[in-house]
Amino acid sequence: MLTATELMGAKTYDAQGNYVGKVREFFVEPAEQPNRVAHFLLARGSFQPLVARHDQVAAIEAGKLELNVPERALDAYQPNEGWLAVTKDLLDQQIIDTSGRKVVRVNDLDLAEQRTNGNVELRITQVDVGLPGAARRLLQGIAPQRMIRALQNRLPARTIRWEFVNLVEPDPLRRLKLRITHEKLEDLHPADLADIIEDLSPAERQGIISSLDEETAAAVLAELDARLTTQIVEKLDPEKAADILEEMAPDAAADVLGGLSKETSEELLDEMPGQEANEVRELLEFDPATAGGMMNTDFVFVGDKSTRDEVLEWMKEQDLNLDQLDTIVLLDGGAQFSGSVPVARLLLAGSEQALNELKIEPLLSVQPNADDKDVFELFDKYNLRMLTVVDEDGRPLGVITVDDVVSKLLK
């Protein structure tokens, strides 16, 4: 096993044993192989630097590289955007560890030698983010190799397998050339991804959000710090931003838009489909410090005369967000609020029982202009998980759920 630091500065000899130059950088070409070291940049003092390809290397050891071709077979170095430079693009830079779900800084890279017919290839196996890598970076070239090895064996290792490494590259064109995708990130929980994004710089955040699919992007934005969300949405392409907002719950979308300037917010609303935009517009009218400003207009309501079975049948046909659903709002014949039923009560109810009989007492609702402090008090006093907001005629406008209260309290 070799490391990137040990290889840096390695003296290179050609097939005849003549000295060629020193390894100053090496490149991975992700378009061909994701982990193979494809090119070695050989510095030759004031002469033009040369490049050795992976199949031109006969043997590698720490500090020494032997080629299987004569020097004149090597190409002159031409910068290439599609090559990932190990020192410049990886060492000391931040990467995302998708298995540990966090942002880390690279100290060194571990490389494995692989012998094929007549040449040796190097493959990146893992990224060193711990003390052994740090010690090597510090001491390489100062202390003898054996001493460094002995020291690093004593230090606790912290490494990340190359498959779990997600590179961060703000420039979309370069990202394409380096074949950097964010598929692995989309598998993470949005809250974890939000944490990761908060640790990155603004340009990097922008790069990740704009390359995620709209649904994931919406979920991540809803978890982010409000100020960051505003900064990101402001800089997104308006069409993309509108698509993401559409995927968000109306109250979350209203929160995001509320932080933007009037013009930007209007521009985005115009891009959104009519019905969603109207819901968000209505929510934007409310003062954030009132019940109206906290409520969500997405809620499940059924007639209070319907039976448990009817409701279950109906629910099966709907595309409901079951993870978030724990209370159903009941309406009477006049479309007025008549109570609410926790989903758990449906589990034990008789199949013909009307929902009217299952509702919780006391019957609570607030008007949209109610102060948020009053809302907190109601939640605290009655141990609520959901509270319905009604207009002057008693018609439900939306609901406040306990997570709205929690995020409001934490602000």
């Binding site: 060492l91 000391d92 830079q93 880390v104 800084r105 100290n107 983010v129 740090a134 970076r137 510090l138 929980h189 809250a191 974890d192 944490d195 908060e198 990155l200 710089s201 603004p202 340009a203 955040r205 710090d225 100020r227 960051l228 900064q231 402001e234 934490l410």
Partner: protein
């Protein structure tokens, strides 16, 4: 039936959720932000360095040269603003801390030695803060063996256990108590007009016809240069730049919020210098007028004030000193361990458990307690600590400022926000002047330490 795999999968999902619930609260981030909730980072960073060492230097320069050093405050305000503004701009436009940028652009080895130096220098700074606590408490009749340990424990608890509300209140109090120097200065009954007149260089003012009789022109010799250098050296400290930039990043200041932050830096630089003005005026009107030109430490300054300006003025002076020392001691160890750990890739933050961020906690705790312990152990040699801390700050400042200037002028990092030509001139001139002056301080401090070890400070 449940299979073993499905149970394990459930268990994993469950712990995953517990983990997330904990991460979601992220107390450290909240704390860093709440440190800045009441007052902006620029204001904090400028005021915090009016610390024990600073106050001593200001008091001493006022005692030694009276009003005639006041003119240096205006150029110093500009230099302070220029150097801090560059860091806040870098934070706002790159979204990265200064230590992160140094690591990414200059590599591991440079970063390692820089961080090691910062750690050492800030241990010295923490020690001078506890020396401040020791001076102030002894003037108020409390033994240092009681006050210093209590201060160390209080600072540790405040930061690790403090709730947002309490930290906010305490920090606000710290900021307000700086006004004790304003009151002390009024109690000293200086001639305000003459003091204000000295904000303009007396070397020039003496040629203005009607002003001549009021102006006190100092002799421009080596001693005077040393005092000027000491003023600059204590005013602009290397750690401020790291702290300010990290704070700007943590506070999520982006290009749009940047103008507010720049104003905050302006207000901070000016308010800091206003306090310095009052301290110098206070000692100039009392100690200098009475011919007490050499004060070995800040405690002596406070004691000497008693017969001249009254008990109250002396007490307020000590309270100000204690306040400044505690304020700096609450911020320095935390910001130092945070910056060092972030740059070298160690886990950091008070929301982590000890086991998860061993190095961070070890650094943080040892900065405070080792600092306090050394101050108690060295006892009467406390002055030497201050000297050393100034020497080390002086040596660290040039590389830090040069890194800042190189980074802020990198177009690939800053885009259009690189320094303008005019700004660069001002920045380089003030940087070179600061480097020159701090090296003078370093040189004379070393001279004092080795050549006249018994003579105290200068």
């Amino acid at each position: 039936m449940w299979s073993r795999e499905s149970l394990e999968a459930m268990g994993e999902r469950w712990t995953g959720r517990v983990q997330r619930a904990r991460d979601a609260i992220r107390p450290f981030r909240r704390r860093i932000v709440m440190f800045l909730a009441v007052v902006g980072p620029g204001l904090i960073v400028s005021n915090v360095h009016n610390d024990a060492g600073g106050i001593y230097t200001y008091a001493q320069s006022g005692a030694k040269y009276g009003n005639s050093v006041l003119w240096s405050l205006i150029p110093m305000t500009i230099a302070l603003y220029v150097s801090l503004e560059m860091c806040s701009r870098m934070g706002a436009f790159t979204g990265k801390g200064l230590s992160d940028l140094v690591r990414e652009e200059f590599g591991f080895r440079v970063t390692f030695f820089l961080m090691a130096a910062i750690l050492l220098v800030n241990l010295g700074n923490v020690m001078s803060e506890f020396t401040g606590v020791f001076w102030a408490s002894e003037n108020m009749g409390v033994s240092r063996f009681i006050s210093v340990p209590i201060a160390a424990v209080a600072v540790w608890i405040l930061v690790v256990q403090g709730t947002a509300k309490w930290v906010e209140r305490i920090f606000l109090t710290f900021c307000v108590v700086y006004f004790s120097y304003v009151i002390s200065a009024f109690l000293a009954k200086p001639d305000w007009l003459i003091s204000l007149l000295h904000l303009f260089p007396p070397h020039l003012m003496q040629y203005v016809p009607t002003m001549k009789q009021f102006v006190q022109v100092p002799k421009f010799d080596a001693q005077y240069a040393v005092i000027l250098a000491a003023l600059v050296g204590t005013t602009i400290a290397p750690w401020q730049h790291f702290y300010l930039q990290a704070a700007v990043v943590e506070k999520r200041v982006g290009p749009r919020q940047y103008p507010t932050t720049r104003n905050d830096v302006i207000v901070g630089s000016i308010s800091c210098m206003v306090i310095v003005f009052f301290i110098i005026v206070c000692t100039a009107a009392t100690l200098y007028v009475q011919g007490i030109h050499d004060i070995p430490d800040a405690q002596t300054a406070a004691i000497a004030l008693r017969p001249l300006a009254g008990k109250l003025a002396s007490l307020l002076f000590s309270i100000g000193l204690l306040n400044a020392s505690l304020f700096a001691a609450s911020i320095l160890p935390l910001s130092t361990s945070y910056v060092v750990c972030e740059a070298l890739g160690f886990e950091s933050g008070i929301d982590r458990k000890f086991g998860e961020a061993k190095i961070f906690y070890t650094l943080y705790t040892s900065l405070i307690f080792l600092g306090a312990f050394l101050v108690l152990a060295l006892g009467k040699f406390a002055n030497t600590i201050l000297l050393w801390s100034q020497v080390l700050n002086g040596f660290l400042l040039p590389p830090v400022l040069i890194f800042v200037l190189i980074l802020v002028n990198r177009r690939d990092l800053m885009g259009e926000q690189v320094n303008s030509k005019g700004f660069n001139w001002v920045a380089w001139i003030s940087t070179i002047a600061m480097i020159g002056l701090t090296l003078v301080v370093a040189y004379t401090s070393i001279h004092d330490l080795f050549v006249h070890p018994a003579s105290g400070i200068r």
